[in-house]
């Protein structure tokens, strides 16, 4: 069942054409990624979805034109409020929805363990490491209990090792919650590890150049067998993004290092 459906979405900033007709859909319980180079217009697409800006084209949710409060949005940087303790950052969305702070805290508190934040409820964001901040931001996102998650490069600012750990962690908790999610990333491996389907974007002006299904079973981090299959999909997508590498035998003069 399709939940989100976009048809021929377009957006220009003055003379700068950013989105040149984006059509995609996300089904219930599906994890979909949008993979594209930096500056392609990925964040702009999310701004259209959250209503921060307006563009042309059709946006439908459950068959009806999109109305405001469908998405829980996680912006590109964690956007934690430095003046709120972690628990109060986590309750922010619920407070905006009109819930009392004490009630919101009760709702949020049990999730801290699962998000690897137990014991840090009363810490300030400045006291947390980068990975923990991202988990706190994700916690703030999922507790809003909207129909769908929009995650904009959630791990983009982390170092490679932390990012790998966070991707595995997200895959693990996603399996137990099955949120309907749309993830923006420029990390091919991240997209393959987490997604059921991937839309590959061109450079700006962005259009969808390819749709890739990722039929690998979950969990995807358990066996090296799966890792090899994932690597094949990854290489295939990279070819789409960068063009196929020129075979070695067409360059007889080139030295081989291996």
């Amino acid at each position: 069942m399709k939940r989100l459906e976009l048809r021929d979405l377009r957006k220009s900033f003055g003379a700068l054409e950013v989105l040149a007709g984006i059509s995609l859909h996300v089904a219930a319980g599906e994890f979909v990624s949008i993979l594209g180079p930096s500056g392609a217009g990925k964040s702009t697409l999310f701004q259209l979805l959250t209503g921060a800006i307006r563009g042309e084209g059709e946006m439908r949710f459950d068959g009806a034109p999109l109305d405001g409060a469908r998405f829980a949005f996680m912006p590109q940087r964690d956007a934690l409020m430095p003046w709120r303790r972690i628990i109060d950052n986590a309750t922010l969305g619920l407070e905006v929805q009109g819930m009392k702070r004490s009630e919101a805290r009760e709702r949020v508190a049990p999730l801290f363990a699962e998000f690897g934040l137990a014991g840090f409820e009363r810490a300030w964001p400045a006291e947390l490491s980068g990975g923990m901040r991202q988990r706190a931001a994700l916690l703030r996102t999922v507790v809003q209990q909207r129909d769908m998650l929009l995650l904009d490069e959630p791990f983009g600012a982390l170092d490679a090792l932390t990012r790998a750990a966070m991707q595995r962690w997200l895959e693990t908790i996603w399996r137990s919650h099955r949120w309907t999610a749309l993830l923006i990333t420029h990390d091919v491996r991240e997209a393959v590890l987490l997604s059921d389907r991937i839309y590959v974007l061109s450079e700006r002006p962005a259009r969808i150049v390819r749709e890739v299904a990722v039929p690998l079973p979950r969990p995807r981090t358990e066996s090296h067998e799966l890792a090899r299959e994932a690597a094949a999909i990854e290489a295939d997508i990279l070819d789409t993004l960068l063009g196929r590498p020129v075979p070695i035998n067409e360059h007889p003069m080139e030295n081989r290092n291996d």
């Binding site: 701004q47 959250t50 209503g51 921060a52 405001g68 409060a69 998405f71 949005f73 912006p75 590109q76 940087r77 956007a79 409020m81 430095p82 003046w83 922010l92 969305g93 905006v96 929805q97 690897g116 137990a118 014991g119 840090f120 810490a123 300030w124 964001p125 400045a126 006291e127 947390l128 490491s129 980068g130 990975g131 923990m132 901040r133 809003q144 600012a157 982390l158 170092d159 090792l161 932390t162 790998a164 750990a165 966070m166 991707q167 595995r168 962690w169 895959e171 693990t172 981090t221 358990e222």
Partner: protein, 307 residues
Amino acid sequence: MAVWYDPLRGGEGASSRELSTIGESGRDGQSPPQGERLAFTRTFANFFPAALAFALLLTAWELYARFGGIAPTVLPAPSRVLAQAWENRAALADNTLPTIRATLAGFAFSLVAAFILSALVDFLAPLRRALFPLLIASQTLPLVAIAPLVVLWFGFGLLPKILLVALVTFFPMMVALVEGYAATSTEISQLLAAMGAGRWRIFWLARLPSALPYFFAGLRISITYAVVGAIFAEYAGAAKGLGIYMLSAKNNFRPDLVLAAVAVSSALTLVLFGLAVLVQRLAMPWENAKGERAGPGGNRPSGEGRR
């Protein structure tokens, strides 16, 4: 126990181990006494040069006034100022209280006005363009000329003092607040908007807290002008107050008492400044958490990146 992210194991294992370490010894593992001693040493190291310079200056002045053949009616020695201040302590205290009252009342008025006006300006951009030239012009008015006029218009009561203190303290706080609102992270604003927050909600939840550091920077500047503003107002006309006390001491050829009143007003400003710093610390506890990390010795027991 050294814990490091193990790339051969799942993220689950890594994060739960990282957690258990922190849970056991993490935040409690910080030893506050050590931190306090360090803070004390640092504070002492910060203030020592200033105290030394001040003491040297006073000593030089004392020696010059005593042995330089200068009449005490022209330049009294610090010791004489101190002795006369003590002798006249009742009169001094009697005249200090109205100055404190005028300072605090004027400052409170200015504070409230700065908050209300800055919020209005934040919501209505045209108002900002209308008001700011006026506000900047207000800062060019020479206080010496304005003070007697304000007293002429509003009498010898508290009101002209409040207005003059507000005139000199309002601007730095107003500018700081307006700039502080503008410094709000766009991502936080967008996040709140996506959550369904309206303009007023965003102002309250994001713009106002974002402006706090700016506001306190402005407040610290303002508060050093406040006492001087009140004294100027009293100088121009008052029944009681440090300003009028200085005036009459000068007219009676008592520079020692003028200087005693000056010392009192300086002390007053220093105390107010210290209070402002204290309030800032209390109002922004997260600032103290910066640079500190949860975990023993400030080390993160994990391979996670830091910002």
